[in-house]
């Protein structure tokens, strides 16, 4: 099962149609969050602020793209009995590197994300892509697959965080948008909207993800499973 089929196909261009599909597919039709429903846990945890969502996406991008390449390079060497452990070791070490780098160069952000950087290890998207894709594919397609899936994940993360930060804290990227009329802060000072604390709590992230899934499926009927 672990044996990979050696293809004798002629060398294909770097951005062939197939390779481009690897990047584009996870953005919409095969989105890891809204279609495969993976990585939900972190979508709940770090989408309170847009900035956090962006840094998280960057961290996952590094881990998934590089991890996919590493696993793909080793795919013919990894003994199948310990392959999950090997994958785990690769994710864990990359995550530790990300964590250390954040602590050294973006200390404030590292503090805000705190344990959630470490929890990238448990992000199901990563192990899922390692096992399902990188174990059987060459490094370049694996790299693209990592980029595509992270971007698909990142889009959802950023969308959710925009909704939550705007309606929960009245800011975007820390810049005040919905301000207080009395204190005269914000771009649009209103007296009819008060920041909704519920937005900051995890349940609202789930509901927001749900709404995104709903919108996506009503636009694309092919995604609706028939029961």
């Amino acid at each position: 099962m672990s044996e990979t089929v050696k293809t004798k196909a002629p060398k294909e261009p770097l951005f062939s149609k197939k390779n481009r599909k690897l990047v584009i597919d996870p953005l919409e039709d095969n989105n890891p969050v809204t279609v495969q429903v993976l990585g939900i846990c972190s979508a709940l945890a770090i989408t309170v602020q847009v900035e956090q969502a962006l840094v998280m996406t960057g961290s996952v991008l590094f881990v998934l793209a590089l991890g996919n390449v590493v696993i793909s390079l080793m795919r013919n060497l990894i003994p199948s009995r310990i392959r999950i452990i090997v994958q785990l070791v690769v994710v864990a070490s990359l995550v530790i590197i990300v964590n250390e780098v954040l602590k050294a160069f973006l200390p404030d952000m590292a503090e805000k994300l705190s344990v959630f950087v470490g929890l990238i290890i448990t992000n199901c998207i990563i192990m899922g892509r390692f096992e399902a894709f990188a174990m059987a594919q060459k490094p370049w397609p694996s790299f693209l697959d990592g980029i595509g899936n992270t971007l698909g994940y990142g889009i959802v993360l950023v969308l959710v965080s925009i909704v939550r930060e705007l309606f929960g804290s009245g800011t975007l990227m820390g810049f005040p948008i919905l301000g207080d009329k009395v204190e005269g802060t914000g771009l649009f000072a209103t007296d009819w909207y008060a920041n909704n604390n519920l937005m900051i709590l995890p349940p609202m992230a789930l509901i927001t993800v749900g709404i995104i899934i709903w919108v996506q499926r009503s636009r694309n009927k092919a995604l609706i499973e028939d029961h």
């Binding site: 310990i82 602590k103 160069f105």
Partner: protein, 241 residues
């Protein structure tokens, strides 16, 4: 060259090689970045200390601002006696969080750093403290005025308290502001009086009580316990003077 990839020998060998390679890389990264991380942590601590007396600073200018406003510092023991020979530098280096967590150090052996600041011609004492919240550690700084009785300001922070509930101790408007409303750490005789974190309202006007956070009772109680345990020591130090 045919290697049986499913043999035990190969599997174990692969695992060993992988672990050695990964271990080396991680150790190198960690060692390489450690000095920068420690510098960051020290800066953050200075920012927190300055924040307790409402002096804003950024990571860029914190060292200069700190030197300008923090004039002295030393360490006292659990009985409130000044430990001789300890300087501001020692006080800064003392990790009270580590000391608090280490069950090998009994409460009587704990050391307590004290920072002395000058702001607008006024002398202020800054008292760092650590405690337990609901999910993890909480910490803070209480600034006491020159008369060693009145609280000038307080600043609290936390690691993992619930946003919107326990985490509100970090928010100036909802919690920390109350400490600027004529709160005292001791009574007229110089005896320590704890500041109670009460449920509901009714704390305004009372120099020894503040309102707790709705839905954040355990965190609020954690703040109360932390302040009681720590301030007691400092009051005995101030009073002995």
């Amino acid at each position: 060259m045919a290697i049986n990839k499913e043999s035990n020998g190969y599997t174990i060998g692969f695992a060993i090689v992988l672990v050695v390679v990964v271990g080396t890389i991680l150790a190198a990264v960690s060692m390489g970045l450690k000095p920068i991380q420690q510098k960051n942590a020290a800066k953050k601590k200075r920012m927190d200390i300055l924040g307790a007396i409402k002096i804003e600073s950024t990571r860029q200018n914190v060292d200069d601002v700190f030197k300008k406003h923090i004039v002295d510092g030393y360490i006292i023991d659990a009985k409130g006696k000044k430990i001789e020979g300890k300087t501001l530098e020692d006080a800064e280096k003392l990790d009270i969080q580590k000391q608090f967590r280490n069950s090998g150090i009994s409460p009587e052996d704990r050391q307590y750093p004290l920072f002395i600041a000058e702001k607008e011609g006024q002398k202020l004492f800054i008292i760092p403290m650590v405690g337990k919240g609901l999910w993890g550690p909480i910490w803070g700084y209480v600034a006491v005025k020159e008369n060693m009785v009145d609280i000038q300001a307080a600043k609290f922070d936390h690691k993992t308290e619930t946003p919107g509930l326990g985490a509100e101790i970090k928010v100036y408007k909802s919690f920390q502001k109350q400490f600027e409303d004529n709160k005292k750490i001791s009574d007229d005789n110089g005896e320590f009086v704890k500041i109670t974190v009460t449920k509901g309202s009714g704390a305004s006007g009372n120099p020894h009580a503040v309102d707790g956070i709705t839905g954040g009772t355990i965190t609020s109680k954690g703040v109360e316990e932390m302040m009681e345990r720590t301030l007691k020591v400092y009051v005995s130090h101030f009073h002995a003077k």
